[in-house]
């Protein structure tokens, strides 16, 4: 295609998708209204119903229900029998199943932070994901540029259409390599965080799994935490600059233990550090003050502009 046609097509497509992106990224006034009602009236409630929300909102019930469904899908709210909703703290990244397990084991404590430590995450991840994909690309290029003549000849002999089909087959191979790596990414992440939950409760302190089949047998009560520290290695720092979400190690010093307990590759380690610090200091004021911003962030995956106080 000629440059005279190509450039206008690229510009038009860019503009159309910018507009689509702008529409997708809007929070929506109804969602904002529902979040406002929850933050103003129900942040300290154990649970609430749509009827209760309706008392503070002029939105019709089906609209409220739709917005609540969105918040449930984003993992901000959790539902229970009888049409009850419960607000999760914004730094709780557990699955619904693990959140219920955490509530049960901590005897319905107010869970301030919940996530999975990834003990083996980075090394397996980089090796599995990038190593495999680079191998597929290298193989494809080697076949295309005839560096593996026997493989190339074999492929031409078995492909319908012979040499004409080879380029399509090779680009499909690379594309499927991407899909395979994406599926592998899901498996590694799912496996790495299968059961290594770390939960910080307002009263129960830190509870954590010590093995894959564990039921939060690791416990550090609030009074036994003598110190907390963050450690971010150069590899983690690099991952934090360009990865999906930030990770780091959290070192907790415990009364009576010679060795500190290290939680590896925790998501949002600084936030976890400050939650532990607030637990030690007994101050939870930040939660109430910043709940709205944090909920909007979780609802859209975008950080809203933050007003400094």
């Amino acid at each position: 295609m000629l440059v005279e046609y190509l450039i206008p097509i690229i510009i038009i497509m860019f503009a159309v998708f910018v507009i689509i992106g702008w529409k997708i990224a809007s929070v929506g006034s109804n969602l904002e209204k529902v979040i406002d009602v929850i933050v103003e009236h129900f942040i300290d409630e154990r649970r609430f119903t749509i009827a209760k929300l309706k008392e503070y909102s002029d939105l019709p019930e089906p609209v409220i229900e739709k917005q609540l469904k969105k918040l449930v899908n984003k993992g901000i709210l959790t539902t229970s029998k009888g049409g009850w909703y419960r607000l999760k703290d914004p730094l709780v990244f557990l699955t619904e199943k693990d959140y219920i397990r955490a509530l049960r084991i901590t005897r319905d404590d107010n869970i301030l932070y919940g996530a999975y430590q990834h003990p083996y995450f980075l090394h397996i991840y980089f090796l599995g994901i990038y190593g495999l994909f680079l191998t597929i690309v290298a193989f494809t290029l080697a076949v295309y540029f005839n560096l593996l003549p026997s493989v190339r000849a074999y492929l031409i002999s078995v492909l319908p259409g012979g040499e004409n089909t080879l380029p399509v087959f090779l680009v499909f191979l690379i594309a499927f390599g991407i899909v395979f790596v994406d599926a592998l990414d899901n498996i590694i992440k799912g496996w790495a965080k299968e059961r290594y939950s770390v939960i910080i409760g307002e009263l129960s302190g830190i509870s954590y799994d010590q093995s894959l089949s564990d039921e939060l047998s690791g416990r550090i009560s609030r009074g036994h935490i003598t110190g907390v520290d963050i450690q971010i290695s150069p590899l983690q720092k690099l991952f934090n600059y360009f990865g999906d979400y930030p990770i780091g190690d959290i070192v907790v010093k415990v009364k009576g233990h010679k060795k500190p307990i290290v939680f590896k590759n925790m998501p949002y380690p600084r936030e976890m550090f400050f939650v532990i610090r607030t637990l030690m200091l007994g101050s939870l004021g930040w939660r109430k003050r910043h709940a709205r911003t944090l909920m909007l962030w979780r609802a859209k995956g975008l950080v809203p502009s933050i007003k400094s106080e």
Partner: protein, 181 residues
Amino acid sequence: MGEPSEEIIERLQTQYRFKTSTQIILLVIFMLIGYFALEYSPIPMMLETKIKVFVIYLALIFPIIIKTENRYTFSIAMGLYGAASIVIIIWTYETIFVAEQPVIGLYIAFLEIILVELLHHIGVEIVPRGKQGYIVGVALTIVFFVALATFLIYYGIPILILVGVPLSLIFLYAILPERKI
């Protein structure tokens, strides 16, 4: 140490990433690297090809380098996705497309993967969570399987089942909504 409250909110995301200005400078540096690599490439390329490669390159590096999450950066990433998608379609159609029955299916399967994965790369889940997501996921997988089947049928029904079904299931597993954290 100051009161933890302010620090928690201020440090959310931003403290882990480069400053926005640094991200922009990095992007410009990588754009220049891309430009010079194409300009002085040992492989001779026409201007159209250079433009196409550059647009795809930009769509790939933008979400990796720009980590400031807001409506503006998301919209730009989406714009680059749209531009890169049309470039990929035009380019592959012009260079590798063969209008023969089995290859058309393979080409459609390739395009479906690339467009879905590129969208995933910029952080958009084409398959949302919940029932609706599973319906979209299954519909995309059926399109993928049918496209692949038109190619694999050339080798017979057993190969179609032995290869087509596992590949389609891997495709479905890859596009299902995942928890990032």
